[in-house]
């Protein structure tokens, strides 16, 4: 039932609005609304009950294992939430003057420094609001760099076929055309194919390493020099940074610019679709172009660097300083991990992934890259099951929900048919992994013995399988009171 369906004319949560009706006489009638907006008219308790119940209809990290590849759904420490929501922090206006901002800015400054260290980059700007905005900022800096050198011929960005969809989309938003580079049979970028297309029109390449194929690209140095020699720059999509913290740093791989998904590697919550944060780090040559604002420190005083301080900056990406509250959560998380804890992230997430991969292969599942080490994630392909039994990846995914596990990422990367991209993260216990492995094995057996059972899943959720085609064809995007839902 929708909150609207509990609405009754004249009902309201009266404690939540001013008790006196204010005086609107300063606003002439012509500007005024003629009819009240149709918002639900409900009591405070109805609201609390409705949204409490709705929340219970979600899977979430706090209730389920969520092995969603390339999404790094790890535990979100509750302390980060509490401490980022201290009353004074919540009350701080973005335009508060420096004397009321030193505490807050200290956190941001230190986070910048930490990100420099873990990525091996020269400088960091925290302002991008998510990974995709980080990508936009990164590509925009590449463009600014070429433009500053008067190099107008570079119109192309190279993107491996395994890349996330945001990569090509971001490149296009920066005015580039995108050329796709195939992956080789071992999952690494096909360097020969790359060699053929790289050239004076190449502005840069957007690499994800470890890639979303769940492997570390072993020829990264070769790729880097190939692109650099052609005058292009290297963009590093840091969405999978969790896999390599403290083991290898993008800066050391020769990357010129990188974004970090704090809502992945730094454990800020996903919130059902954000907010996240996608800070960018750059090598020396891109430093002048970093987006504003940033925090600078001198003599123990913090201050904002804005357009005036950074005349070559690509500019501003949001009205204020990005998703500040998310940055605080990441900062608090990093403080609790420290250097050693950060290194353990890569170690245990990789341990978990390789353990699962091995056990699932032993159980008869097909790995997309059976000869490769898993990074913090790996790919199974259910091609065989789909062909032989008519039970496809989506069916497996939906049936997993019945077993109390969130489904892995499905049908991505696009190049592996019927794929499941599985990322356990370091915060899951071995028992949880074993439970998931057993569930997959049972479903495999179900698929063999009773494929219709799997194809009809899920059964134990608030709704059965939903009709996506109907959703798109008979668009129903807003509630109307005369609709008989």
């Amino acid at each position: 039932m929708l909150i609207y369906q509990q609405s009754r004319r004249g009902r309201r949560a009266a404690a939540q609005a001013p008790l006196q009706q204010g005086d609107l006489s300063g606003i002439p009638e012509t500007f005024r609304r003629k009819q009240r907006a149709d918002l639900p008219q409900v009591s405070e308790m109805q609201t609390v009950r409705h949204y409490t119940r709705l929340s219970q209809q979600n899977f979430s990290i706090d209730t389920q294992f969520y092995p969603l590849g390339s999404c790094t759904m790890k535990y979100n420490p509750r302390g980060c939430n509490t401490l980022a929501m201290l009353p004074n922090l919540l009350a701080r206006h973005p335009e508060a003057p420096a004397d009321h901002s030193q505490g807050f800015m200290a956190c941001l400054y230190e986070l910048q420094e930490m990100l420099k260290e873990v990525t091996g980059m020269q400088a960091v700007s925290l302002s991008p609001a998510a990974g995709a905005q980080g990508e936009f900022a990164g590509v925009a800096m590449i463009r600014a760099y070429h433009e500053a050198r008067g190099d107008a011929a570079r119109t192309e960005i190279l993107v491996p076929d395994a890349a996330h969809g945001t990569n090509p989309a971001s490149a296009v938003m920066c005015g580039y055309t995108v050329r796709e580079i195939p992956s080789g049979p071992d999952g690494d970028v096909d360097v020969e194919a790359l060699r053929k297309v790289v050239g004076p029109q190449t502005a840069g390449i957007m690499l994800t390493n470890p890639s979303t194929l769940g492997v570390f690209d072993r020829r990264i140095e070769e790729i880097a020099s190939l692109v650099h020699e052609a005058g292009g720059l290297l963009y590093y999509d840091g969405a999978n940074l969790n896999a390599i913290l403290g083991k290898v740093r993008p800066g050391d791989m020769g990357c010129d610019v990188i974004h970090v998904n704090l809502h992945k590697t730094f454990s800020t919550p996903h919130g059902g679709g954000g907010p996240g944060a996608g800070p960018v780090g750059v090598s020396k040559r891109l430093q002048p172009y970093l987006p504003v604002p940033m925090v600078a420190q001198s003599e123990g005083q913090y201050r904002w660097l804005t357009e005036g301080d950074c005349p070559e900056s690509i500019g501003r990406l949001s009205a204020f300083a990005g998703n500040a509250g998310i940055l605080l959560r990441a900062y608090i998380y990093a403080c609790m991990l420290g250097g050693e804890g950060m290194e353990r992230v890569a170690e245990y997430s990789t341990l978990n992934a390789n353990y699962m991969l091995k056990r699932l292969m032993d159980a008869g599942f097909d790995a997309a890259y059976p000869e490769r080490r898993a990074t913090h994630e790996f790919i199974l392909t259910l091609h065989k099951q789909a062909k032989q039994l008519g039970v496809n990846t989506m069916d497996f995914a939906k049936r997993l929900l019945d077993y109390g596990f969130h489904a892995p990422t499905t049908y991505f990367p696009l190049l592996v048919p019927e794929c499941l991209l599985i990322e356990p993260t370091e915060t899951e216990s071995r028992e949880e992994l074993d439970g998931f492995i057993e569930a997959l094995c049972s479903i495999k057996q179900e698929a063999e013995e009773n494929p219709e059972l799997v194809k009809g899943a899920p059964y134990n959720l608030p709704v059965k399988r939903l009709d996506d085609v109907r959703a798109a064809r008979e668009l129903d995007l807003v509630w109307k009171s005369d609709k008989n839902t």
Partner: protein
Amino acid sequence: MPFIPHTEEDVREMLAAIGAPDIDALFDEIPATLRCGKLKQLPQAMSEMEVAGLMSARAHQDGAPVCFIGAGAYDHHIPAAVWQLASRGEFYTAYTPYQAEASQGTLQVLYEFQSMMAALTGMDLSNTSLYDGATALAEAVLMAVRANRKSKSRRVLMPRTVHPAYRRVVQTIVGKQGIELVELPFDPAGGHTDPAVLAAFDGQDIAALVIPQPNYFGVLEEVDALTDWAHTNRALAIAVVNPVALAVLNPPGEWGQQGADICCGEGQPLGAPLSSGGPYFGFMCCRQKLVRQMPGRIVGCTRDLDGKVGYTLTLQAREQHIRRSKATSNICTNQGLMATAATIHMALLGSEGLERVAAACHANTRSLVQRLGTIAGVAPLFHRPVFHEQVLRLPISADGVLDQLSELDLLGGLDLSRDYPELGDAILVCATEKRTEPEMDDFQQKLQMILTC
């Protein structure tokens, strides 16, 4: 090990299962030349208790001055229920609802959000959020240029009365696609965009006109005339609005003869704490026929195998994960939790509550301006009606005055000289429904004291 559950026995047995001698061996595909050493520049780990001490100290250091700044971020009361509910693990730690059957909570909330935003703006439909108000405006401009098939020019008219930071963000984002933003001046007496200035563009190929309501100065624009001009000139009308103001102001869907085509804005006033500027959320609503040009996630109502109502992400073919380089936007992770909070906030306030909030803000700002106006040399700069912000002229440098007020634990408004040097010593003040009579009296007294020193 913080946040890692492995026992020594687990590690031993897992490595044995893998057939690896130690954890480090799992990284053997990384070229040795690249392997880094320890992350030595990172500080030592702190316990939650230690970080709690650190964060409390920092929060305490910044204090909680009384806030009369608005300028795009507003200090509204947020019902306690909003964040107690939105912080529930099931909302807070869920992913984007790709697995619809396991995400009906979030999906239904977002469907309700779309419904509420459409109702508030008077538009046909809404997406489920963009990063913030500024990026929402940038996306609106891109969308308008894409959608306006009648225009070839990629020229967009942008009043100077639009929030300066928004204008900068739009420039950063749309500039790379060859879109030209043409600035419209404001009327020095009214502080609004005089529709007459548009005469200069009559008959030109303009893709869209941006119309703020209220504008950055708090002033109400002649939205009907501006919208109609746009439509007469085959330009799309993009509204950029304060959602709380819409509780009392004519909604964009009803501007002029046909209503605005796209409506966007900053959602912060609907339940997001000031929080140093973020996370907030951008909203975007549009007319039905533009739906396939919309950026961002959209939730649709559908049926399950049994015919039961359910919710799912829809029209995903607009998005980057399907359409890649041809997507309507690169946005992926958006501000879902903030939209969730806003939904709860709007449910609790309702339209009458929101109207009371809007009215109280308006009345408080008037009352503040009236108080401050009794001080010699302090007076409103513009004569037109405002919503809940107003520009005041000061007799001496705004900068110094605001610094002194800040030392007295009062944020007295925003210095406009950075962005509008032509206004002289002017500040933008705002008194939301949270500001009390004693606080306003206090402001008056402190300002008086500073100005007479």
